[in-house]
Symmetry: C2
Subunit: 400 residues, 2 copies
């Protein structure tokens, strides 16, 4: 079931010439002997997005502007996974500062297509079987979108619950550490290590109460993405789930606006020191443009946006109080052709802004062979409950 | 009015043998020529707590476990102050990882006494006239307590508003960057740079509506601290302020409990990588004990505490909705004798937990010559309004 660090390393060496998932791979000699560890993740090969520190490896954040000096310590989340038995075998490619300029990783299902981003290497490494699990981060859609494009399970937990010490935080109120795996069970094992103290939850009833949120007001779906969402809803209904469809168009548009402004304001404040440094010329035009956009957002506007955000978050908690989980698109379409763009995060941003746990579940493939799936979302701190529902119902909603 | 970088540097060289405020002082040759800058803080000499990056200087966090490699970039807040004309002249002593084990700084008013902590060096450097302004951080009472003990203006803004990129965050939901100065006007100038986009606010009415919160349920006051609080309330009443005294004992005790558990849980998660590293033996017994205490707090308990915290924060916002500011003790007493402890943060922790802006205003001296003062607190994002009231009313409440 688990690859283990040595097989993972060997597969990485063999496959990465094409996939380009790795920013930095450990020396094989430094890996612990197979089956030497203990814990729930004993021996699991771990990839770590290159905005999160692993002791002894540099943290390059997808940018030549950063330092090549190795990190002194593991990030907290890496130390927690190591304590549970996982073995970090390298740092995975990220878009520049976890924003949008891609790092050249290719989609393992078709190398002419993007793996998504910004956690490109982590999603691709799991999809290609180069690691068992991988850490990523999400500010807009940087976990769920690459999980969708690469056809792996991706989980972004409730904001503020996985400690960020040792992560290069850029957007303080948005950046959230999450993880990729090939199965829901493995995602639960990681959750057990990073959100500890609670046994994996088994749902206490047979059929969930579900909200279907196609989000048509904010983005169009490809035929395959639409079908994946409709199929998922139909199969849950067949299973006995109560499926409701709340109307939230105005809120969605407001939340998207708040997300964009919040992200750009925080990005500008976070990257100001780089912009003022000798390395400023090494930033991409897209990132410079985003920083400039963020610098135009005044502190007063930022504060007003945060108050509107808090008000809407309260409204939504009340509105979804009796819902077990929401089903909504992960991405507007299958992984787009080309690796110059990482695709659209339009269906992920609202959940990043609210800080709600979100899970990508792969359900099958489109006619072009690329993966499709759906996003499941729950209220804050329902992380284990959401994963519990997914473990039980993933077989039901998976085609083929 | 401003010392300027060169005079500040010379005073630091002369005084620091006794005060020990500096962890690292810049080379004088590297300082810009006097009066070469522009901006609201042109030429202001800046001290930076040694948990916040300054390009070219190491960030040691008061611990030999950390790396001596220099930081590549300024922290965001340092870059923002530099852009406003301030000149960082060095890194100030902090308690170990901004917790409680002191770094040897002495109180400029009496070197046999503590300057408070954890932002010990920043408060002492401002009090001794070694810098104009200094950055600190607060998790419990690490800004307001040293401001009180050293008799300087200390301001901890609303949580989440000053970006933390380049700060060594340990307690993710608590750590807040703040600043020390000798006058409220200078504190407003820093606020103008770090919370920009809003002119310094002039109160729109003559007399404020004030809540007096002695917090007797959670801690006893020395006679001088009691007198400072009573005097402040009396002078505000004489000025026409409406002063109310809400009863909040049960809430205060609950908030203190939530703060302690939240801080220890986050401390343990944050410092786990150090505990698992080759440098673990370099941690103090106090910090090891705190980490162990934090490791006993389960994720479920942590989550429950955060929900209780959010509920109480909402209650308090409503309860204080018509109050311009709260007056409450900054510390239980004047700076205690000895430098083995940094004193008690009991009166500061609630505001750190709620994330409300808090200001220490020095009002005079106790019979032993040590400074006393009061803490003023406002609702979230009333930072500029609170500073505006303080600028107008500080002369009224200051004795002698």
């Amino acid at each position: 079931m688990m690859l283990g660090a040595h097989e993972a390393w060997a597969r990485s060496k063999a496959l990465d010439t094409e996939i380009k998932a790795w920013a930095c791979l450990a020396d094989e000699a430094g890996l612990p002997p197979a089956a030497s560890g203990s814990g729930a993740l004993a021996g699991a090969a771990l990839g770590v997005k290159d905005v999160i520190d692993v002791a002894g490896m540099p943290t390059r954040s997808g940018s030549p502007a950063t330092s090549s000096a190795p990190a002194r310590w593991d990030a907290s989340c890496v130390a927690q996974l190591r304590a549970a038995g996982a073995v970090p075998i390298g740092k995975t490619v990220t878009a520049e500062f976890a924003y949008v300029t891609p790092g050249g990783t290719r989609n393992p299902h078709n190398p002419a297509h993007t793996p998504g981003g910004s956690s490109s290497g982590s999603a691709a490494a799991v999809a290609a079987g180069m690691v068992d699990i991988a850490l990523g981060t999400q500010t807009g859609g940087s976990m769920i979108r690459p999980a969708a494009f690469c056809g792996v399970v991706g989980f972004k937990p409730t904001f503020g619950r996985v400690h960020r010490l040792g992560m290069s935080v850029v957007c303080d109120s948005l950046d959230t550490i999450g993880w990729f795996s090939r199965t829901v069970e493995q995602s639960q094992a990681v959750a057990g290590a990073l959100l500890p103290g609670e046994a994996a939850k088994e749902p206490s009833k047979d059929a969930p109460r579900v909200a279907l949120l196609p989000c048509d007001a904010i983005g169009a779906l490809s035929p395959a993405a639409r079908q994946a969402l409709d199929d998922c809803a139909a199969r849950l209904r067949d299973h006995g789930a109560a499926v409701v469809s709340p109307a939230l168009d105005a809120d969605l548009e407001a939340l998207l606006h708040i997300h964009a402004q919040t992200m750009h304001a925080e990005l500008a404040r976070g990257l100001l020191p780089v912009l003022h440094s000798a390395q400023a010329g090494l930033l991409s035009p897209a990132l410079r443009g985003a920083i400039e956009r963020g610098m135009d957002i005044s502190h007063m506007e930022y504060v007003a946006l945060q108050h509107a955000r808090a008000r809407l978050a309260g409204d939504w908690q009340a509105r979804f109080g009796d819902i077990d989980f929401i089903i909504t698109p992960s991405a507007p379409c299958e992984a787009p052709r080309g690796v110059q763009s990482t695709g659209s995060s339009i269906f992920n941003r609202v959940w990043s802004l609210l800080g709600w746990p979100a899970l990508h579940l792969p359900t099958g493939r489109a006619e072009n062979g690329l993966p499709v799936g759906v996003q499941w979302v729950a209220r804050p701190d329902e992380d284990h409950a959401l994963l519990g529902w997914a473990r039980r119902l993933h077989p039901l909603v998976r085609r083929g």
